[in-house]
C-alpha cells in the first residue's frame, strides 16, 4: 500500500478499506509514518483480541515508547477480525514499513457511512504540516 491510498484519523491512524470475498468491507489499520517518527523508541504494543467490537474514535490498544504511552484509536466501527501478532516482536522495524508489514488490526466495518469522516491523504498531510509548527 502507498500512503496516498489510505484514509487517516486526526490521531494518526491509517485505514485501508477493501472488500473481502463475502462482500464485507474490511479496514486494515495502522499508524502513520509521521506518528511513528514522532514516537520513536517503541518498546511495547497492546492490541485487541480477535472478535472485539470497536467504535470509531475509541481506544483499541496502546503503543508505548521509552518516553510515553499513547492510545491507538479505531478509525471505524466494527469487529476485529485479524490481529498482527508478529508486530510485538518487530517494533524496531515498524517505522521502516508502517503501511505493509506494520499493520495492527483488520476490522470488519459495521457502518460504512463513518468512512466519510476520515481524512484523505492531502488533508492528512496538511494536518501533519500544521502539527510540525
Amino acid at each position: 500500500m502507498t500512503p496516498e491510498q489510505l484514509l487517516y484519523t486526526k490521531s494518526h491512524e491509517w485505514a485501508y478499506v477493501q472488500d473481502d470475498p463475502s462482500g464485507a468491507k474490511i479496514a486494515t489499520v495502522g499508524l502513520s509514518a509521521f506518528a511513528l517518527e514522532l514516537l520513536t523508541d517503541l518498546v511495547y504494543v497492546d492490541l485487541p483480541e480477535v472478535g472485539r467490537r470497536v467504535s470509531a474514535g475509541e481506544p483499541l490498544g496502546e503503543i508505548e515508547s521509552v518516553k510515553a504511552v499513547s492510545d491507538l484509536y479505531s478509525p471505524v466501527d466494527g469487529e476485529v477480525v485479524e490481529v498482527n501478532t508478529a508486530l510485538a516482536d518487530n517494533l524496531a522495524g515498524l517505522a521502516d514499513d508502517p503501511y505493509d508489514a506494520g499493520w495492527f488490526v483488520k476490522i470488519r466495518i459495521a457502518d460504512e457511512s463513518l468512512l466519510a469522516g476520515l481524512l484523505d491523504y492531502a488533508a492528512y498531510q496538511k494536518q501533519c504540516a500544521e502539527e510540525e509548527h
Partner: protein, 388 residues
C-alpha cells in the same frame, strides 16, 4: 507546542540545525533526542555521550561570608569543604520538605580567592533564587567582614555533561588539568586548550547524572558552541555522540538517582527519599533542621524503592502501587530500561512493603501488572580491573 516564553541555551541553534527534537523542559527548549533515546543511552554506557545541560541553574557565591551563609542554607555541612571539592546537598523548607537537591562546589580564582557554585534544578531556579533572597537580607549580605556576593550565572555559562567510559579520553586534550587523577566529586577552575575557547577558562567537575564515569563542564555562553563542536570532533573517532535529555532521564533512572518533580518534592522529606546522608543535623542551623531532627526519630510513612516490572508495560508517574487491591504507594518515575531490556520504576511505598523481593502490583491505566521491589541502583557500571 513551544511557546515564546521558553529559554534557549547557547547551543539552541546547533541542536535545531543537527536534528535535535526540541521540547519544552522546565521553561527551556531542549533536545529530547537527536536519533533515538535507546541508542543515545546505550552509546553513553559503552563509549560516551555529551549533553547540553545549560538549563541547570548555577548560582555563584563569594565574599568572606559565603561559606557560613551556604552552611546555613543547605542541609549538608559545607563550611568545611576543601578547595576543589563538591558535595551533594539539599535545600529544605521549615517543615523539612525538599525545596531542591543541589551540588555545591568550592573553587578558587587565579588570585586564590575562593568562590562557591551551587547547581540547582532548572525547574527550581526561580524558587531558590527567591528563597536565597529572603534569607539574605541586605544587613546580612553587607555585614562587615562577612559580606556575601552572589550571582545567578545560569545564562552567562553553558554547562556540558560528558559522560561515559571514554570521557577522560575525550576531554583530556581540551583541559589543562590532569583528569585521569581527578577524583569523583572533585573539580576545579581550568583553562580550555582549544582555539575556539579563545583562552577562556571554565569549571570542570568529575560528577554526573548517568551512573557512568564522567564530567560536567561550565564554559562561557559565547564560546560554548565552539567548545561543543571541538568535543564532538574529538569524540567522533571514540564513538561518542551528542545525547538529549531523553537519554539523560533513562540513564539517571537506571542509576537510581532521584529527580526533582518526581522522587523529590516539598511533600517529601530527605529520610523518605533515602537522602538522610545529605543532612547534617548538628552544627549549622539551616531552615528545616529542627523539623528534620523530629522527622528522623519517627518511622517514615513512605520510603523510596526501585521496582522491576515482570511484564512489558511500563509504570509511569502517578500510577498506584497495590497489594491485594489496596493502595500502598505511588510511582514517581518509570520507563523502559535500555540496559536491562525491561521496564523499571521508582516510587514510594509504605515501609512494610519496601523490602527487596516484595511482590506488588501496579495499576497501569486500569490493569494490574506485577512488579517486584529490587535493590537500587538498577544499573552499576562495571568495576575497573587492574589491567591497563
Amino acid at each position: 507546542m513551544l511557546n515564546n516564553a521558553t529559554l534557549h541555551t547557547p547551543l539552541y541553534d546547533w541542536h535545531v540545525a543537527n536534528g535535535g527534537r526540541m521540547v519544552e523542559f522546565a521553561g527551556w527548549v531542549m533536545p529530547v533526542q537527536y536519533t533515538s533515546i535507546i541508542e543515545e543511552h546505550k552509546i553513553t554506557r559503552v563509549a560516551g555521550g555529551i549533553a547540553d545541560i545549560s538549563h541547570m541553574g548555577r548560582l555563584r557565591f563569594e565574599g568572606p561570608g559565603a561559606a557560613v551563609f551556604l552552611a546555613e542554607l543547605l542541609t549538608r555541612r559545607v563550611a568545611d569543604i576543601a578547595d576543589g571539592q563538591i558535595r551533594y546537598s539539599l535545600v529544605t523548607n521549615e517543615q523539612g520538605g525538599i525545596l531542591d537537591d543541589v551540588l555545591v562546589g568550592r573553587y578558587h580564582n587565579d588570585y586564590g580567592q575562593p568562590y562557591y557554585v551551587v547547581v540547582v534544578n532548572a525547574c527550581n531556579r526561580a524558587k531558590i533564587v527567591e528563597w536565597i533572597g529572603t534569607h539574605l537580607p541586605r544587613e546580612r549580605a553587607e555585614r562587615p567582614g562577612h559580606e556575601v556576593i552572589w550571582t545567578d550565572v545560569t545564562r552567562l555559562w553553558a554547562m556540558l555533561a560528558i559522560q561515559g567510559p571514554r570521557s577522560v579520553e575525550l576531554l583530556q586534550p581540551l583541559i589543562d588539568a590532569n583528569l585521569r587523577t581527578m577524583k569523583y566529586y572533585r573539580g576545579g577552575q581550568v583553562r580550555i586548550l582549544h582555539p575556539a575557547a579563545r583562552r577562556q577558562g571554565g569549571i570542570i567537575s568529575r560528577t554526573g547524572y548517568t551512573g557512568e564515569d564522567g564530567f560536567e563542564l561550565s564554559v562561557g555562553a559565547g564560546i560554548a558552541p565552539g567548545v561543543w563542536e571541538a568535543m564532538l570532533e574529538i569524540g567522533k573517532p571514540l564513538g561518542i555522540v551528542p545525547t538529549g535529555i531523553g537519554a539523560r532521564d533513562t540513564l539517571r533512572l537506571e542509576a537510581g538517582m532521584p529527580l526533582y518533580g518526581h522522587e523529590l518534592s516539598e511533600q517529601i522529606d530527605p529520610f523518605q527519599a533515602g537522602l538522610g546522608f545529605a543532612c547534617h543535623l548538628v552544627g549549622y542551623d539551616f531552615p528545616g533542621r529542627d523539623a528534620l531532627l523530629k522527622i528522623k526519630e519517627q518511622t517514615a510513612k513512605f520510603v523510596r524503592v526501585g521496582l522491576e516490572m515482570h511484564g512489558r508495560r511500563a509504570a509511569r508517574q502517578d500510577c498506584h502501587i497495590l497489594t491485594d487491591s489496596k493502595k500502598v504507594g505511588c510511582i514517581t518515575s518509570g520507563t523502559f530500561s535500555p540496559s536491562l531490556g525491561r521496564p523499571i520504576a521508582m516510587g514510594y511505598v509504605r515501609p512494610e512493603f519496601a523490602e527487596v523481593g516484595t511482590e506488588l502490583q501496579i495499576d497501569i491505566r486500569g490493569r494490574k501488572e506485577p512488579a517486584r521491589v529490587v535493590q537500587l541502583p538498577f544499573y552499576s557500571r562495571p568495576k575497573k580491573g587492574n589491567k591497563k
